[in-house]
């Protein structure tokens, strides 16, 4: 099933595009994607204008029923008045038809997340068709403002879930990481620990050096010893992380 997040992305894109072309605030909601039955497809395309957009991953068909088409055209002209009724909707004039196609072309680019075309709304090619051939998924956008109209979108197939290009290691080499050195201190009794206060000193001297673990983002990356080198504190690596199993054994 088409992911809801993808349809939400389309809806938001359509809203922005319509707000731009209609020059008015647009309130739009989304109906969840579904896979209609044959009878349902007949109801969906009945009395509707169909506009196909060929994408790289799938073809999308925009379905606009007659009264919704009229409402969109009215909105484009900035007209008031009632245009929504289930029956008795008149056919569009040639000018209105051209306006409808222009409105659809304006938001056609927003379908990129589901059909894979380039997100260039102006260049998105649309073609009017008469029948739907083998659609699978269908979802609708409900326009509430500036006019009540519904825009259906049928997809020829489910978008394939693919992996994008991975980041190469080379591109990560310049990333800065915060390091933490975790020292292994001497043992201390609980009573002594309880009496620690500002100004108290805890002796860190150990018989076998000053062992510590170097961590990055919580992951141990090396094991070694803390000390002073050239008058600066330093961590001397004794066992790097890439030496397989060495850190695991150490911990």
């Amino acid at each position: 099933m088409l992911p809801l997040s993808a349809t939400a992305l389309v809806a938001n894109g359509v809203r922005e595009a319509l707000a731009s072309v209609l020059a008015a605030p647009v309130h739009l909601r989304l109906f969840e994607p579904s896979i209609p039955t044959r009878q349902a497809w007949e109801a969906i395309v009945h009395d509707a204008s169909l506009f196909r957009i060929r994408g790289s991953r799938a073809d999308a068909t925009i379905v606009v029923r007659a009264h919704d088409a009229l409402a969109l055209v009215h909105a484009a002209f900035g007209e008031d008045g009632e245009s929504r009724s289930i029956e008795g909707t008149r056919a569009l004039s040639s000018i209105e038809r051209a306006v409808l196609e222009r409105v659809i072309r304006a938001f056609a680019g927003s379908l990129a997340p589901v059909c894979g075309m380039r997100g260039d709304a102006v260049a998105a090619p649309i073609e009017a068709i008469n029948t739907l051939a083998g659609p699978t998924t269908y979802f609708e956008l409900q326009l509430d403002q500036p006019k009540c109209a519904r825009i259906g979108i049928a997809l020829s197939r489910e978008p394939a879930i693919g992996c994008g290009e991975a980041l190469s290691v080379e591109r990560l080499l310049d990333a800065e990481l915060e390091l933490v050195v975790r020292c292994e201190g001497p043992a201390m009794t609980a009573g002594t620990l309880a009496t620690l206060e500002p100004g108290a000193f805890v002796p860190m001297t150990l018989g076998t050096g000053f062992p510590a673990t170097l961590e990055a983002a919580g992951w141990p990356v090396a094991r070694g010893e803390c000390g002073v080198r050239r008058r600066s504190y330093a961590f001397a690596v004794t066992t790097p992380a890439f030496q397989e199993g060495s850190l695991a054994e150490a911990s």
Partner: protein
Amino acid sequence: MLIDAAIASASERITERVDDVRATYTPGAVPRFDDVATAQSMSRFDPDPLRAAPPEGAYFITHDGRGRTAYTRDGSFGVRDGALVGEDGRAVFGFATEHAPLGALKLDPVDVALDRVHDVHLERDGALVYTRDAIEPRSGTRERERVTVGYLALARFPAATKLGSVDANHFVAPPGDVPHVGRPGDGAFAFIAPMRREASRVDLDASLIHLKDAYLALDALHAAQTARMGINKTAMDLLK
């Protein structure tokens, strides 16, 4: 054999009285004879949200299957093929919008086809309403929105108008009579009562008494005819 006109009339009266008795338990039935009508309409609670009782003196509007507009007080509705229909399956009329002409009330066909229609019910102002789920794309929150399909229409006839019967609870207007048509709660009509079902206006006791009277009248006519035939025969015998 010739049937006496008076006896034929009495037989027809019995048939009509039987029809009234039969309609005693038909919801929204109105009797043929006013003498068996209850003083006022009554309705009973019904849990079906597509049931409604009309205001006093008002009728829901439908058709009789022969192209004629029909009127009924039986508010036992349902949804079939996306349209509001009466119990007989015929479309019930209303107004899709405030300025729309009278017509069948139809749910959005795509909502019906995609099974988005929930909680279809009638409200006291005659509104046929359902709910459907929508998603706000920016926040992803789901909302249940209310969709008004339209409003039931009501009709009222001038007082003393005698409607023609289609069946026990469907009637047609007499030729030339045009009812006043409006919406529940529009000022001319009172509100409807949702989830109630109009009972029959036929009083069972009264209808049985009058049926018995009709049979007695037929018996009396039979007796009178028999006596008349006997007298005629006697007269003919005397003449011979």
